[in-house]
């Protein structure tokens, strides 16, 4: 039986709650399918107090062989490097993390906080937070850039705020079958099969993006959110519009811009508006597109936009349409 431990640092618990939403398999089925046991989880396990400390000590001493150590949230180093902003079972959480990571076959960072530092590590970083093996873009983080687990792998990141339950289940199942190698990971140590495409793949607003038809205010199904409303979907890597959330939807499907929460630089702030340069071109261009190509393409695309795309799909009574451009 494979053994799994899940701990939380500077966390909101969102990845745990997201994990509980898993379907086919759900969390209970998943653990039984792979003959794995969750040794302890802060919000799900029965044990409190001394029993938990004993378990952690047995893992560190090698009495219990730990297959997967899952960490959610930032590693909190403050104040002044002491780690005392996040105490757990009588000592700074950071000390538990290092000792447990050293004796685990695999270490998994679930969510943007554990992967890159996320919101708590953003300026002014009041808690001196960092990710397990990255601090924002910089490799290193808490465990250091040369850290490898007993199986010879770096920390495996499942970024996202939160991570989608299917991304978590997929990553864990490959690990439990010993089928995950370093070649399966991208430059940010995430599974390529999950983070290979951008959030735009599968977005129902793609046609509007292609013909440069902009939505200028919220509350509509028409138009693309990239040009005016701050959507990061064209340069953020995630399958949010392919593997839908809660089996139903995604942010861009309900008219909310993508905030880029699977990337190292989340949160970038100014979320609901698109920053542009002097010539009116968005400062952040779609992944892999040059400024010249973008300008040329835009002019042609807007001129070629089909008629039905530049007016509302559903007419509302007495409505003045000044929100689609």
């Amino acid at each position: 039986m494979k053994k799994v431990l899940w701990l939380q640092g500077g966390a909101c618990g969102g990845n745990t709650l997201s994990f509980l939403n898993a379907e086919n398999p759900d969390v209970l089925e998943f653990f039984s399918m792979y003959d794995a046991k969750l040794l302890w989880h802060p919000s799900l396990s029965l044990e409190s107090g001394e029993k938990v400390k004993e378990l952690l000590k047995d893992i560190i001493s090698g009495k219990i062989n730990l297959d997967i150590f899952i960490f959610e949230g930032t590693v909190v180093l403050g104040p002044n490097g002491s780690g005392r902003f996040n105490m757990f079972a009588g000592r700074p959480m950071k000390d538990w993390v290092r000792e447990i990571a050293n004796v685990s076959n695999y270490v998994v960072a679930v969510g943007d906080c554990a992967s890159f530092g996320g919101i708590p590590a953003s300026d002014p970083n009041p808690t001196e937070s960092t990710g397990l093996q990255f601090h924002k873009k910089e490799k290193g983080g808490f465990l250091g850039k040369n850290f490898k687990t007993r199986k010879g792998l770096p920390v495996i990141n499942i970024s996202g705020c939160p991570a989608h339950p299917e991304w978590i289940i997929t990553t864990l199942s490959l690990i439990l079958n010993d089928k995950l190698s370093e070649d399966d990971l991208d430059e940010y140590q995430r599974l390529k099969i999950i983070y290979g495409t951008t959030t735009q793949f599968g977005c129902p607003r793609n046609l509007y993006f292609a013909y440069k038809v902009a939505l200028k205010e919220f509350g509509h199904r028409e138009g693309c959110l990239y040009f005016e409303l701050g959507c990061s979907g064209s340069y953020t890597r995630s399958p949010c519009n392919v593997t839908l959330w809660n089996s139903q939807s995604s942010k861009t499907r309900v008219g909310t811009p993508c905030f880029g929460c699977t990337e190292f630089d989340f949160p970038t702030f100014n979320f609901f508006s698109t920053e542009k340069n002097r010539s009116g071109i968005p400062k952040k261009l779609p992944l892999g597109v040059s400024r010249g190509a973008y300008t040329t393409l835009s002019a042609i695309a807007r001129g070629a936009a089909p008629n039905f795309l530049v007016k509302p799909l559903y007419t509302k009574k007495d409505e003045k349409v000044d929100w689609l451009d």
Binding site: G14, P42, S43, G219, S247, K316
Partner: protein
Amino acid sequence: MTSKIISPFNRVEGDLDVEVKFKENKVVDAKIVSRLFRGLELILRGKSPLDSLVITPRVCGICGASHLYASASALDMMFNAEVPRNAIRLRNVMSMAESCQNDLRHTYFMFLIDVVNKKYQEYINFEEVLKRFSPITGSSYKECFRWSKKYTEVYAVFGGQWPHGSAIIPGGVTSYPLPNEVQKAISILIDIRKNYLENVVLGGPVEQFLNTVKSYKDLLQWVEDYKDGDLSRIVEFGLEANWHKLGHGTGIMLSYGHLPFEEYVGSPSRKYFKPGIFFVKEKEYREFDQNNILEFVTTSYYTYSKGDEIGLHPFEGETNPNILDNSKKYSLTKCFRYKMDGNLLAPEVGALAMLTVSSNPLILDIIDKIGPNVLSRVIARLVRVIIYNELMINELKDYEFGKPTYKKPTEVNEGKGFGLVEAPRGSLGHWIVVKNGKIFNYQMVTPTQINMGPEDPKGNKSHLSLALIGTEVSDINNPIEVYHIVRSHDPCMVCNVHMLKLI
């Protein structure tokens, strides 16, 4: 005197320690201590006001939509936004869907599994509750696993994703659902009602429960008539285990009110669940006014620029952590008090307080007959799920396709606003002050902070400490009564944005 520190105190959101002092087997002092500080209010300073819609839901993974709703409401007020009725319906549905998810998961995953405790082995109902409520293997535990996530599907239809959607914005919502999507959500809620709430939770028809169970006596009758429902089993076991005599606390119930039901400009005037304060002993209701909220730092690791003995309203709130070796200060939770008739009140908040204040007849009568306690809190949480499930269906049936879900507000560069909601754990408020188009001050006052803060300048304790003090535990090495009292409040330490104790 024996001191006991339970660390980690798990099955709460976040890291919590509880320090209790016993004299023989009686609790004589109690301190509730969070071990986590994330500093999100400090991160919000200097950012664009709308950024609070992305940052504040991430305060908490289990009640992010409540923070989102409070944040958008504060911005509504600041922009004097006109919020269409359709938008209010969808906001309400998202808030209720999240709350139901929370209330079920808390009840089954975090609270009820304590029934496997060895104290209960000789109880008449032990075998039955074990079969239902044991972690992982219990039949009702598994049902909750399956059904609680259905509420997140309802949320996602309108909010895109749960947790951490940001579809609620000043002036309405970002989504514009089609009739087929609304119908899908209604059908999920009907499925939950028929195949879960009636089959598993209540053991009988929802309509009959809502129409006929109006008093404590009616509830006991329901327990007789529908023995197979979880609610009946919980009430029966709770009475056998004396949960109705545990954790009374302050006896002052506070609710900010919840769920506006008509369109508004700036801030809502009327809500389905009215705001107010209810004094249990006096059976007296009083109006609530957010101007009377004060936060103190006498026993907290903060300094105020005008001295630590005064209380500040959240609009003037200051977040200056200052960890000095001061014997009086032991926590980074500020102390919440409500100023009334020259007194500083330390209220209880949560589902029980919300339904009491809004005059739900069943809950009012339960409060009257057995008072606020562990059992009445658990009952109130489940009753709220039943009420919310039906209210969501009604809101969605009234959704008018073709009418707007958003009206773009005129943004202003200077101003302030507050947003008050009932989160799953109780009254939640956000206060925002904007200068030069940037956030100058953002203060969040969370329900866990209200329930579990430290002492005020007069030395008076907050609700949860009072609920613990005086409790007699059956075994000091297995103080299950302490666990029940703390967990019956559904504590959320990650919500305690400014809470910390150093050891």
